[in-house]
Symmetry: C2
Subunit: 245 residues, 2 copies
DNA sequence: CGACACCTTGACGGGCTTCAAGTCTCGTGG
DNA sequence: CCACGAGACTTGAAGCCCGTCAAGGTGTCG
């Protein structure tokens, strides 16, 4: 008798977002090897931790469905959200360096996660050039995104930050086959503010303003982008014009 | 007759900062392999570019001596400095993902650079587990540092940012065998402000204030740290006490 | 239904940017 | 050698964006 695997045991070969994940560019036989080291467990429910700061680093994690936030907590207890993660993205890469997670990762909604033991992944990467290459690319990409975020936080006003955030989310949803013009925010306003370096109140006020300017429509956590052009223009740095009325 | 190599042809084996660079943890024979793919050219002079945005990505670069800044320029011409780099550090890692540099790197003073062709490095990494591992660690480290910087920019006041910056520089100089209590800033005040998301004037005022509070002594670009404890305390987030007089 | 988290809106104040002016250093060329 | 200009740095004054405080509304879950 063949035991029926629980339905969260999706294999890489049949995973719908594998083209955004590590298997990209891998030959079929290689995907099977990769699949063989992946560990899948029951989905995380909203609010559950995937890992915590100071946890020993065992694996990196690929998101199969749902969304996560990763964040650090400073000595004095201040939370700093360092990223929101969608299906196909890899989290935990910041822990490689010293074998211990520097950050937390928590589910923003029910989320299915693939754990990929890092030692095995390293070994596999040595045998599969395309996998090694993809790993370097994923990490490089994260470095670059952090740098773009730095530009955002250092040089842009509150409305520009929020516009850039919405455009970014929109594009990421689009790449995953979802609507890029209408989506649901899985994080709270407070999370957004934390991430963008703004007070919750500012985020709330800006969403209201964007809505009255007909850039977006807001219905609780549901967002519709009504005017991509103008929103994108706002996301690009503005040269200190007077604020719109 | 054996040609005398120019004196900038230092080999990895005899390089004074190899313990901070890629060769760390490599066996002697492995270092020789690595050394054999490294390309060294004449030193960069102050202000010269190592690479520019949109340049094709060929190599990553290790700094042997001197210092660099890396920065991006947004569509509308705003410069955003993304990092300052000291000997032993690797720059160009943000270019791996799409074969094109997203940022610029420029010498802040005369600097000797080792170019490491990335394709060869990848190949070598497949044969040398310790090298592959070190590469992952270096990239992981950069991701983590960017996240710490995010915390700095998002959550801390101007004086805390500058204090953290000084402490960070101090520690990095120390690790390189230089004095951690007295050093020379190779970047301008404007660069510091750009990096930390502050106006030049703010940086200048804070340096003056730090000096009158006897936390540091400033003589043009020469900095002496007089009170590490208090400066470190300031670098840790403060709980909104009234400013020191 | 009551506790709690999330969200919104208004009022106020402060920390930083911006603007402006002046000093100093340094490299360059006459 | 020195004049000269450009860039770097400092210091002061004024204004504004956004954080903070406060209050109230809404939705959710035990």
């Amino acid at each position: 008798m063949t035991r029926q695997p629980p339905k969260y045991e999706v294999r890489c070969q049949s995973c719908s977002i594998s083209r955004l994940c590590l298997p990209v560019m891998l030959a079929e036989a290689e995907v099977e090897h990769l699949d063989s080291i992946v560990e899948r467990s029951r989905p995380l429910r909203k609010g559950e931790q995937l890992f915590s700061a100071n946890d020993a680093f065992e694996a990196v994690y690929a998101i199969r469905s749902g969304s996560l936030k990763s964040y650090t907590i400073s000595e004095d207890g201040i939370e700093q959200i360092t990223g929101f993660h969608l299906p196909g993205e890899i989290v935990g890469l910041d822990a490689i360096n010293d074998g211990q997670h520097p950050s937390f990762a928590k589910a923003l909604e029910t989320a299915s996660i693939c754990a990929i033991p890092f030692e095995k992944l390293e070994t596999l990467a040595r045998q599969m050039p395309a996998l090694q290459s993809q790993l370097f690319k994923v990490m490089s990409q994260e470095i670059r995104e952090d740098q773009e975020l730095m530009m955002l936080l250092n040089k842009k006003a509150a409305d520009e930050r929020l516009a850039a955030f919405m455009i970014n989310l929109s594009q990421r949803f689009g790449r995953r086959g979802l609507s890029s013009s209408a989506f649901r925010l899985t994080m709270t306003r407070s999370d957004i503010g934390n991430y963008l370096g703004l007070a919750v109140e500012t985020v709330s006020r800006l969403l209201t303003r964007f809505q009255s300017n007909e850039l977006i429509a807001v219905q609780d956590k549901e967002i519709s982008i009504l005017n991509v052009e103008e929103l994108s223009a706002m996301a690009g740095t503005r040269c200190h014009l007077s604020p719109l009325t």
